[in-house]
Symmetry: C2
Subunit: 281 residues, 2 copies
């Protein structure tokens, strides 16, 4: 199979590595706006050749779109118009409703499959690409009923090759869940890092006093602003909902501390401990 | 040296293990209110013998107090009254001002050294004790001028044995810094876990959709409520201050998202990325 990978960063690069190593792809054609990324991807053996978008797409059996959400929305209609009739377009964006909306009326809508692999690290670019990144992580396919069955079948085979268990849901349902489970974690980290950096002028002091707990909670603040901006933008409805929930819980805590209600605080921490059921599986 | 360790949990247990293995302690006498902890500590070779507090302290050269802050405040005056004249009492509590206050007028104040080793994990109890837990982490000595020079010297040797670089500061300064760098991280994790558990009734959904980022930001929500309640209680002044700072930054973000000011959000994320200077050292 000839696969065109649009976006040679952490996600596109990691997927290209494993799809070739595991025999799913015979040829991988890379596309990236950033010439340094394309050179690096060639050097690291992530892609066989780099081509402009229109040429890369014209001969592909499968096009994987692994770029920030905003850019997916901007070029997805063009990609669908450029592919051969049998080809399939798969996107990996983190906010699905706006993407699915952007091509709802496209005559080739059925050749498109919307998906989201729940994997990543806080690093970006082709140097961050990792073989095995997706193993045992869940992949979500959204609005499956809007895609052609043969297109979904190829995508299922792709995720099976990556050892990813599959879940299926509607795009809006997906967006709500990821706001609660992923997006708010990133906001919480970005804001925590900002608050600490503002107060503690000395990086030395932070370094000295930061035990492992600090590093863990602010790790996501290292994430790429270019990747996250469009996610927050495209999923702002649910991001605002979860931010309000988070804010109201925090304000409740603040009030309990101000009122010296530490019995209640202790009970709330005990309830929060239930997260062990998720983390210690 | 005969060392009495009061509190055979993660911190007391880990310290006992390394102080013996590295030849600093010849005999370790353990004290713990929880009979299961004392049995486990004997079984794991953390302590040589378990005794009631008054008997353990009466023959010790050094008493290490590694229990929750509230309990330190409750028994520290008694411990100081029970030790032999040459002995030293060292506490390891996470909020120092209230502890230092509690024995400010004690006739044996100078035999006491207030310290805080910046190390830990989200686990607790003697089974959680780890050799090497303190290596290369910073230890803070507070209000050194209120302790006898020979007492400080022994404590310096103890932290050198644990391979801990030393910092010195006043108790209130310590409490402010740890509120910003450690306590708020815990609150943010506890609250994030609570918000997600409340919204996502199905642990399976959380598990499926949680990538590494979620696990990292909520890991601290597994921490012991019995340990953290007294820290928040004793350091409530600075905890409220940092919570208010964090809340106002979060509200600012919320407003920027509501107003679709994503250029500003992107700039703020770029500033937050500076935390790399701390995390990637």
């Amino acid at each position: 199979m000839i696969i065109a990978v649009i976006g040679l960063g952490l996600i596109g690069g990691s997927m290209a590595l494993d799809l070739r190593q595991r025999g799913f792809a015979q040829t991988i054609v890379g596309v990236d706006n950033n010439p340094i990324h394309t050179l690096k991807a060639l050097e690291l053996g992530i892609v066989d050749v780099v081509l402009p978008l229109n040429r890369a797409v014209a001969h592909a059996d499968l096009v994987i779109v692994a770029i920030p959400v905003q850019q997916i929305i901007a070029i997805l209609p063009d990609i669908l118009s450029l592919i051969p009739p049998h080809a399939i377009v798969l996107d990996l964006g983190s906010a699905k409703e706006a993407i699915v909306e952007s091509i709802r009326e496209h005559p080739l809508r059925k050749r498109f499959v919307a998906a989201h692999p729940m994997a990543g690290t806080e690093y970006s670019g082709p140097e961050a690409a990792l073989s095995g990144l997706f193993d045992q992580k869940v992949a979500i396919i959204c609005n499956e009923h809007e895609s052609a069955p043969d297109a979904v079948q190829i995508v299922e085979q792709l995720f099976a090759t990556l050892n990813m268990p599959l879940r299926r849901m509607e795009a809006n349902e997906h967006d709500m869940h990821v706001a609660y489970i992923s997006h708010i974690s990133h906001i919480s980290s970005f804001v925590l890092a900002t608050a600490v950096l503002e107060k503690e002028k000395s990086v030395n002091t932070i370094f000295d006093l930061a035990s492992g707990g600090f590093a863990s909670t602010v790790r996501l603040a290292k994430s790429s602003p270019q990747m996250w901006r469009p996610i927050f933008e495209q999923n702002s409805h649910y991001v605002l909902e979860v931010l309000d929930t988070y804010l109201s819980h925090l304000q409740h805590w603040r009030q309990l501390i101000a009122d010296q209600q530490f019995d209640t605080i202790e009970k709330m921490m005990t309830r929060a401990n239930e997260i062990k059921r998720v983390l210690d599986r």
